[in-house]
């Protein structure tokens, strides 16, 4: 089926429409429908990836509406193009969506009762938006899909408590500024080149030699500024911690791993495929300045994460730090940095998913995610804690989890391009994350009261009653997705060479410096 690329987006759309049409009659229908449509979407994205790997130019191209590509530049219709990068990330998006949809049964019932049809409708439409962003090859279509993903995100978060609604307003304002700046940038590009297809714009820039034109420079600034705002890059990150912290559980499990990573994909796509390597890295001043901003971003985010007393807000600040890693990996202008950045997109999605799923289970069973409520959890929910800490170890960067390999590539890139500030910041933030997670491990496994005094070794001496340390594991519908996510984190680490091979095949088309030591 050569149109499996469209089915990645169509299955969730159909699922959303069915949920809304029939959900008012039977609320129990929504969960199976959403799980089924996400499973079919995963199947379609696996097929697309296999198709892209086996095709001759390593991409799958599909024109919606059937207009031929012969007309310069690249036809008049909207193109869906899945090269290896897009296919990989589309697989990550639909995979994460599938796992979260499996997980969502109990949290949605508890936190937004009675609104299941609308919740699942917005959930599936969010996947439509995110998967569409990774697959589209048309700049204006990308704007519409960014808005689809954004609007569903606002709806999903604000459906929760009042506090979540108050946090969403700031998100709406900043998100709209970001998307509108992107639209303005696309307008400048259209003004100078006359086409909206991404590869068509690239051809037009090369043909007409628009590298020195001030309009192009400003278009670059506008597009990237818009995307940086939407991916919560410091100093535009203010919307992220509050929104994700107070959002309903399933919402934060869906949005946290995906939204910022997909925006990093958009940035990579704009730099490599639309503006081109020469323009982005050599004709503009960004490659010199941005790594320093990244250093500030990572340090601030890591320090703020240390100051948090609650799991979800700590994880939200960790997301901001991870975004800093990935942006830095791109802008150090090095082959290994880009491999690391793309690999980190994939691995960060998996490990953030793992962590947020675990935090959701903790919230569900203990009614709190504050650090002081976590004493003795290992006795109560050992499997959940193992899954949660696999995610934690991946963020720190311990082998064989995937986080280790992505950090390896990023540090290699920093070393080879002689960006010592980036490398040192990476190591410093790794130390901070070690402190963060081992502090949590200490609270959960050992007995530490509020003043930090150790009450004794092992959970027998915690001073908690036998009732409170009785084995009371999470419900299966929440536990199994967490274990699947944890095993994916380890599997991506074990099979990292296969994944990195595909990324390297993709990057061979672009002329990136590899440094003097590696040929």
């Amino acid at each position: 089926m050569s149109d499996s690329i469209v089915w990645i987006v169509l299955f969730p759309l159909l699922g959303a429409v069915i949920c809304t049409l029939f959900g008012t009659f039977s609320k129990k229908l929504c969960y199976p429908v959403s799980v089924l449509s996400m499973a079919l979407s995963v199947w379609a994205s696996v097929k697309t990836l296999i198709q892209a790997m086996h095709s001759s130019d390593h991409q799958v191209s599909y024109i919606l509406g059937g207009w031929s590509l012969d007309l310069f530049p690249r036809g008049v219709g909207i193109e869906f193009r899945a090269d290896l990068l897009g296919a990989l990330i589309a697989l990550v998006v639909s995979g994460v969506g599938f796992i979260v949809s499996l997980y969502s049964k109990i949290p949605v019932q508890r936190q937004t009762p009675g609104k299941e049809p609308m919740y699942y409708g917005l959930f599936l439409l969010q996947i439509v938006g995110l998967a569409g962003i990774t697959l589209t090859g048309d700049a204006f279509n990308l704007y519409v899909l960014i808005e689809v993903a954004a609007l569903t995100g606002y709806g999903l978060i604000a459906m929760g408590s009042n506090r979540a609604a108050a946090a969403t307003f700031n998100y709406v304002i900043l998100g709209t500024i970001g998307a509108s700046l992107y639209l303005l940038g696309v307008g400048y590009l259209y003004l100078k080149t006359g086409t909206l297809n991404m590869l068509g714009i690239h051809e037009a820039i090369e043909t007409h030699g628009l590298h020195e034109s001030p309009a192009m420079q400003v278009a670059f600034v506008l597009v990237l500024l818009g995307i940086l705002i939407k991916m919560a890059f410091f100093p535009f990150h203010a919307w992220l911690p509050k929104s994700y912290c107070h959002a309903p559980t399933t919402t934060s499990c869906l949005l946290a791993p995906l939204v910022t990573k997909v925006m990093i994909y958009v940035m990579i796509r704009m730099i490599l495929s639309v503006f081109g390597v020469d323009f982005s890295f050599e004709s503009t001043w960004w490659a010199e300045v941005l790594p320093w901003l990244v250093v500030v971003a990572i340090i601030c985010a890591a320090v703020m994460a240390l100051a948090q007393r609650e799991i979800k807000s700590m994880l939200a600040y960790l997301i901001v730090a991870e975004v800093g890693y990935m942006v830095g990996g791109v802008w150090i202008y090095n082959y290994f940095g880009l491999v690391g950045s793309i690999f980190h997109v994939i691995s960060d999605a998996c490990m953030t998913l793992c962590l947020f799923l675990g935090a959701g289970i903790i919230l569900e069973k203990c009614q709190t995610t504050h650090f002081d409520g976590l004493r003795g959890l290992f006795a109560k929910m050992p499997l959940t804690m193992i899954g949660f800490f696999i995610g934690g170890f991946s963020i720190i960067g311990l082998p064989p989890t995937c986080g280790f390999f992505s950090k390896w590539y990023l540090i290699t890139g920093g070393m080879v391009s002689e960006r010592w500030e980036y490398m040192i910041t990476l190591m410093f933030s790794t130390m901070v994350m070690v402190v963060l997670f081992f502090r949590l491990i200490e609270r959960i496994h050992l007995a530490v009261d509020e003043s930090g005094k150790n009450l004794g070794k092992g959970h027998g001496d915690l001073g908690l009653t036998k009732e409170q340390t009785r084995f009371d594991e999470a419900p299966l519908s929440m536990l199994i997705p967490l274990l699947i996510a944890a095993s994916i984190v380890i599997l991506v680490g074990v099979y990292n060479q296969e994944v990195a091979d595909q990324i390297e095949i993709f990057l061979h088309d672009f002329d990136l410096p590899t440094g003097v030591h590696y040929q």
Binding site: T20, G65, M118, V148, A158, T193, P214
Partner: protein
């Protein structure tokens, strides 16, 4: 803080003005956008590809039909999200004391509206159907139709309008609109073409491929009209009553 924001905004303005030196002058027919092959193809070939005189509708519903489907999805999302944010489910706590507004619908207003609303609805259907040859189309016609329901709600009260168009039917009609749009696209795919490639519908309709595009465009515009009508009314009902669906404005 305001002064800082003012300075920041001025800097952005200077940046944009600096870029504007490079732009083509206003109205230049040789500008890259105006003379590009893409727009020339649209202007020259719309007649022969689709037999629709209105180029904007042809580009909207046919050449870039996927964008329009996503736009319809955006409208649908807005309606869903507003309804669920304002607490439209059965979970809506009715602890708030409700304002009981006691008034009679005015005689002149109701009778005027009684005469006008059918005309508005026919005009809305005309705008929708005539979008092929004059400015118009699904969005414009859908908004006018939704406005007719809002007019009923303003002249009488919201309950009268909700009797005619209940809120859960709103969402069903809206979803139906997307089903129509996606359904036409899926039908094209099942008949062997790409998604939203209407020419293949000529295999089931007794017309030429170009006229199949013509008729399919009308079909998708009808789908868009359904969604926009329903969501405009649902937005009004949710926002004006703060989700309670009782008498508001």
């Amino acid at each position: 803080m305001k002064r800082l924001a003012f300075v920041f905004v001025l800097l952005i303005g200077l940046l944009l003005a600096w870029a504007a030196r490079d732009f083509p002058t206003w109205g230049d027919p040789e500008a890259p956008a105006s003379s590009s092959p893409v727009s020339s193809h649209f202007i020259a070939n719309t007649g022969i590809d689709t037999e629709v005189p209105n180029m904007v509708t042809a580009v909207l519903a046919d050449y870039r039909g996927f964008d329009t489907m996503l736009e319809t999805v955006v409208v649908f999302i807005a309606g869903l999200a507003v309804y669920s944010i304002l607490g439209g489910g059965p979970n809506r706590r009715s602890r708030d004391r409700e304002l009981v507004v006691d008034f009679e619908p005015d005689l002149i207003v109701t009778n005027t509206v009684r005469l006008i609303v059918p005309v508005i609805q026919i005009f809305a259907l005309y705008v929708l159907a005539h979008g092929h040859v004059s400015p118009g189309g699904g969005f414009q016609g859908g908004v006018a139709m939704g406005a007719s329901f809002i007019l009923v709600a303003l002249a009488w009260n919201l309950k009268t309008a909700l009797i005619r168009f209940p809120i859960d039917r709103c969402f069903m009609v809206a979803a139906l609109g997307i089903v129509i749009y996606g359904g036409i696209g899926l039908l094209s795919m099942l008949l062997g073409g790409e998604f939203l490639d209407y020419a293949h519908l000529s295999k089931v309709l007794p017309v030429s491929p170009e006229m199949a595009r013509y008729h399919a465009m009308l079909g998708v515009e009808i789908g868009v009209g359904f969604t926009v009508t329903a969501i405009i009314f649902a937005l009004y009902a949710s926002l004006s009553t703060d989700g309670r669906m009782r008498d508001g404005l």
